[in-house]
Amino acid sequence: MNLLNKIVPPDQWIVPVTLLCGLMAGLGFYVLRVSNAVSYLSDDPKACINCHVMTPEYITWDHSSHQRVTVCNDCHVPHNNVVNKYYFKAMDGLYHASIYTLRLEPQAITMREPSQHVVQNNCIRCHIDQVTDAKMASWVDNHEENRTSRACWECHRETPHGRVKSLAAIGQFIEPLSVRQQQKEFVPDWIKKQLKSSK
């Protein structure tokens, strides 16, 4: 009882504390809302393009044959068990968010090694029957290892993101100049006139 009394705040705190909590919760929700943080927990690929730096990957995936059958998370988070999935997502999300806010993202983003393992395992998860032959596995030493230890995208270089993967790969987010449109004519009139007249 004594202990409990000590923890329960004095009555006069009730109003300010409630207000403060409300404020904090509100602020929290606001931050979650503008950053669409809740969506990170979902599997919706749109969640990833909350950060425009993910757009090239989104667009390339969207145009790939995998678009019909996968979302980002099918490849980019572990699917061996649920705990692992959310743990990896959280770590990854935290990492990406901090890099993004600190503006440390490189022009050409590449997967880190842990991500590579995750993706490789996911390719294998879906395609194991196509890349390995169960019959071979029984006779050929290391058949499974031989068939699955090399990064799939060493050969399938375009799957699913294509090869040119940078912020520059797509025509978005270049400085939004109102004047920025490529013309059909590349030769200024004054040159055209002069060249014509000198002929």
Binding site: V34, A108, L177
Partner: protein, 477 residues
């Protein structure tokens, strides 16, 4: 919250500060509207980066490779020749180089006005004002006060729309000569063609019908841009840049056929443009923009190569160096053969060879050295298209070899059976002395020019530009 601010940044709208006139030569005026591009453009002043074969440092090529002095004996390049630096240096460098001599006023000096063509956005301005033919006429010194801004925005951009454009008539004419229309180019092609205004082989044609005597700038592409096509073109019109001081061969100088060689490489074939590697996109504050710090991509592997290649930076740099070394190794051998060719030809003249004896030998020298020069002059070639460059180097070796055998026979028939000793040209000084180049005199002349003429030019230019003013843009809000 910076996630919020980064989102709003992305939505930022363009607000012009000033109105940019057509052919505005002053880069800082454009910079008012496009600060990011301008800031990165200013970085071309940086001369710290150096790679195995390239970079922005000042490198005295004649010192690095004194054989060049012999190969170019009798021609301006044997006086001074340096590795290219950033675009910001275009004006300083053409003023300082011994090749342009020490003009003492209008109408003096060794070089024609045409030399300015690829150095400044004042060029389209002037061509527009005085006419193209008039621009190409007269001496280099005549336009010293008119051409003062280093290569910049107006060379590549239409100020109204900022789209890329071609401001040099020579490129437009070269396309016409090939039966092509440059206006039919795609946007991606334009990302290389703006460079092809300058990074190309050229010559001065003084015999154009109706323009006789004007050293008109022409790209010799009529029959194609391969080394053989251009060689045949020059042979057909009987053109030579100079007569070699020792061998008396009618020589051709290949100047930086960067675009021509790049076009034969795998990157060009896969649609990769000059700008993809030399002006990669970069981002700042959530804005993506084109990096106008044009330089060796090896100083920026992350943004240039790694966009397409997943290898480590070290691996990619090693790939470039490997190609440069493999090609360079034979380039060096070829240069030694060319040095010998000139000296052996000189010896043959000395021993009384006739013009008839020498004719086909001099053609071999001309062709072999042209092919060598075509392969090296653009600096980036051994990476841009290593297989083509190797092909050209081998073909040059073949021609050079034929010349040397003819010479060996001729010399023997003139009573000379030994091998002519290879000269001591271990330094630029030794080589220049051997070729009779009085650098002290050239340097003195240049100093006087810098002291007396350049300040005049600068003052006149300052007055002229002050008269041009800057017009604030009308607010659109």
């Amino acid at each position: 919250n910076s996630i919020i601010s980064r989102k709003t940044e992305s939505k930022f709208a363009y607000q012009p500060m000033v109105e940019i006139a057509d052919n505005e030569p002053r880069n800082q005026v454009w910079g008012e509207n496009f600060p990011r591009q301008y800031q990165s453009f200013l970085e071309t002043k940086d001369t710290t980066f150096q790679s195995y074969q390239g970079g922005s440092k000042h490198v005295d090529m004649l010192e690095k490779d004194p054989r060049l002095v012999v190969l170019w004996a009798g021609y301006g390049f044997s006086k001074e020749y340096n590795a290219p630096k950033g675009h910001s240096y275009a004006i300083d460098d053409i003023r300082n180089i011994l090749r342009t001599g020490g003009p003492t006023g209008s109408g003096t000096g060794p070089m024609p006005s045409t030399c300015w063509t690829c150095k400044s956005p004042d060029v389209p301005r002037l061509m527009n004002e005085i006419g193209i033919d008039e621009f190409y006429s007269g001496k280099w010194a005549d336009k010293g006060s008119e051409v003062v801004n280093a290569i910049g925005c107006a060379d590549c951009h239409n100020p109204e729309t900022m789209s890329l454009r071609i401001t040099r008539p020579a490129l437009i004419e070269a396309f016409e000569a090939m039966g092509k229309d440059i206006n039919a180019s795609s946007h991606q092609e334009m990302r290389s063609l703006v460079c092809a205004q300058c990074h190309v082989e050229y010559y001065f044609n003084k015999n154009l019908p109706g323009k006789e005597g004007v050293p008109y700038l022409v790209f010799p592409w009529r029959d194609g841009t391969s080394v053989e096509a251009m060689e045949a073109y020059y042979d057909e019109i009987n053109f030579s840049d100079w007569t070699h001081a020792v061998s008396k061969a009618p020589m051709l100088k290949a100047q930086h056929p960067g675009y021509e060689i790049y076009s034969t490489g795998i990157h060009a074939k896969r649609g990769v443009s000059c700008a993809d590697c030399h002006m990669p996109y970069t981002s700042e504050g959530g804005q993506k923009y084109t990096d106008h710090h044009i330089q060796s991509p090896l100083n920026n592997v992350t943004n240039s190569c790694q966009v397409c290649h997943r290898q480590d930076k070290e691996d990619l740099v090693a790939d470039v160096y490997t190609r440069q070394k493999k090609v360079g190794e034979n380039m060096e051998k070829l240069e030694k053969i060319l040095v010998r060719l000139h000296l052996e030809a000189g010896k043959a003249w000395e021993l009384g060879a006739s013009d008839e004896d020498m004719e086909s030998i001099l053609q071999d020298i001309r062709h072999a050295q042209w092919r060598w020069d075509y392969s090296v002059a653009s600096h980036g070639a051994s990476f841009h298209s290593p297989v083509e460059v190797s092909r050209v180097v081998s073909s040059a070796m073949d021609v050079a070899g034929q010349g040397r055998i003819k010479l060996a026979r001729l010399l023997a028939s003139l009573g000379y059976y030994e091998e002519l000793p290879y000269p001591d040209i271990t330094t630029k000084d030794k080589a220049q002395q051997l070729m009779g180049i009085d650098r002290v005199a050239l340097e003195k002349e240049k100093e006087e020019f810098k002291e007396n003429i350049i300040p005049q030019w600068l003052e006149e230019a300052k007055k002229r530009e002050e008269g041009m003013g800057v017009k604030k843009a009308v607010s659109m809000k």
